[in-house]
């Protein structure tokens, strides 16, 4: 009881007396959390978005003839043997003709004289919607082209290929920036905490000398660490939320946001981020102070 009374008073006094450097640490934590959360937000949203962009990705296998039900079953089995897929759609010659006629719209009458089976039948394979590598898609198409009765395999336009390269490059970029930033964050937070405690070396030494127990010395710093983690990360996330609102407000309207369903963190994730921040800052304070508590 007396211990906690002393310790809380001590922590309060410390805050009052060293608020400039405390503020600096707080700012550092906020900024770090902001940057870090920003990147994970972008990353998760990007993965979602690229899934949506990849909707169109499908491998089209042109067949020599309309496959009978037995043949369809056989093809289906061979395809799923190679890889799990989202869906397999069979398009008969007649359906292909219908689609083409629809595409021509007002000019469909020009097709009147053409036999309805002039377009080949096909199988459309829609792969699973995750960021699979292009190599795999190429392999897949090579495999499919060797199936019996296959005329030709086509997988979307060049667009798909390009888009996949682009997504992959982006993943690398986000991953690397993420790593760099985590590095920076850890570096900055530990550095500021160390400096803050270093600036109070004299005080810590004196406390040891007048007979303060380790807990008496340590606890106010740990309280500070907890507060800094809590307030700093909350501030960081709050700023990010404002930023997010700003983006939403600024770029709303049809298109962008409905296409990409840009979402904020769920409450669970927010709590996790705050919790991890608290653990990190407290651990930082703890290890920094621990050095002074020997003898």
């Amino acid at each position: 009881m007396r211990f906690w009374f002393s310790v809380v008073r001590q922590a309060g006094r410390n805050l009052r007396q060293t608020w400039p450097s405390q503020l600096m640490t707080l700012l550092t934590v906020s900024l770090s959390v902001l940057i870090f959360a920003f990147f994970s937000l972008v990353y998760t949203n990007m993965i979602n978005s690229s899934e949506q962009l990849g909707d169109d990705l499908r491998l089209i296998i042109y067949l020599e003839d309309d496959p009978g039900p037995e043949m369809q079953e056989q093809l289906r089995r061979k395809i799923t043997n190679f890889d799990r897929v989202e869906d397999i759609v069979f398009v008969s010659k007649e359906e292909a003709y219908k689609r083409f006629a629809e595409q021509l719209g007002g000019h469909r009458d020009v097709l009147d004289d053409i036999p309805k089976d002039f377009l080949p039948a096909s199988v459309e394979v829609i792969p699973l919607k995750n960021l699979r590598s292009l190599n795999q898609i190429k392999l897949f198409s090579q495999y499919l082209s060797k199936l019996p009765g296959t005329l030709k395999v086509q997988y979307g336009q060049e667009w798909v290929e390009r888009f996949y390269y682009f997504t992959r490059l982006l993943s690398i970029v986000v991953f690397l920036s993420g790593s760099l930033l985590i590095l920076t964050t850890i570096f900055m937070v530990s550095y500021t905490i160390r400096l803050t405690i270093f600036g109070r070396q004299a005080e810590l030494e004196l406390l040891k000398l007048v007979g303060a127990t380790n807990n008496y010395i340590r606890t106010p710093f740990l309280i500070e660490g907890v507060l800094q983690g809590l307030i700093g990360s909350s501030l960081g996330i709050f700023s990010l939320f404002l930023l997010y609102q700003w983006i939403k407000g600024h770029f709303s309207g049809p298109g962008l946001l409905e296409l990409f369903s840009f979402t904020f963190f769920t409450p669970e994730v927010i709590i996790a981020i705050i919790f991890i921040s608290i653990i990190l800052t407290t651990a930082g304070s703890f290890t920094s102070i621990q050095k002074f508590l020997r003898i």
């Binding site: 001590q10 004299a202 030494e205 004196l206 040891k208 000398l209 007048v210 007979g211 008496y216």
Partner: protein, 235 residues
């Protein structure tokens, strides 16, 4: 009365063959054996660099000796760790030669610190601090930032902090170096008062005026060696 035949539980500080040297080749203390009785007032003198501060550092365990045994209040310092060491230190008051004041805190906070660590009541702390400042003629500096004080004023704050928690062992290093004769008198009064109320007081000094006519033991150090010991005179 000599130290040698004092009963063991009457001994506050016991040093046996204590040596301390610093790299590369500074011998600060050389084979010092000494025992100080509970309730004694003990002077330590010697030229600058003789080892007085180092000896006080050994007793308060700011640094360990290279060799030798040190017992304070019956505890072997080498075996004391953590909270036990902290508890012992709460009962030792030290006025450092380099003050070790927190220059950005107020005078009151500096003095209070030694009482706070042993969880004294805030009201009690305040009373004690006011009382001490009055005895040292510094009543008007209660809320002053310590760094703004004159050197002599800081020296008195250092002493006040050492005395504040009514320690059983009081180590005082050069308490009057920045003080005039009159203020020196007041400081000595305070120390004598602490001694009279039972505290063991060890004073390291070169100020002849405070030990010249004293009836207490005076040890002289020179280059880390004990060169003389003037025994106490019965008044």
């Amino acid at each position: 009365m000599t130290t040698n035949n004092a009963s063991v539980n009457g001994t506050m500080v016991e040093l046996i063959k204590v040596s301390k040297s610093y790299p590369p080749d500074v011998v600060a203390l050389d084979n010092i054996s000494l025992s100080i009785n509970t309730g004694e007032l003990f002077f330590m003198i010697g030229k600058s660099g003789a080892g007085k501060t180092t000896l006080l550092k050994m007793i308060s365990y700011m640094e360990p000796p290279n060799t030798g045994l040190i017992e304070v209040a019956g505890h072997d310092l080498r075996r004391l760790r953590g909270n036990k060491l902290a508890k012992l230190r709460q009962r030792i008051g030290v006025a450092y030669q380099d003050f070790k004041l927190l220059l950005d805190r107020t005078v009151a906070e500096n003095i209070a610190i030694s009482m706070e660590v042993s969880y004294k009541q805030p009201s009690q702390i305040q009373k004690r601090v006011k009382n001490l400042l009055e005895q040292l003629q510094l009543s008007d500096k209660y809320n002053t930032i310590t760094g703004e004080l004159s050197r002599g004023e800081q020296q008195r704050i250092t002493l006040a902090r050492a005395v504040a928690n009514s320690p059983t062992l009081l180590l005082v290093d050069e308490p009057t170096g920045n003080l005039d004769a009159e203020t020196t008198g007041r400081v000595m009064q305070l120390l004598t008062k602490a001694n009279n109320s039972g505290a063991t007081v060890v004073i390291a000094t070169h100020d002849e005026s405070i030990f010249r006519n004293s009836k207490h033991r005076i040890m002289e150090l020179d280059r880390g060696r004990m060169v003389s010991m003037k025994e106490a005179t019965v008044s």
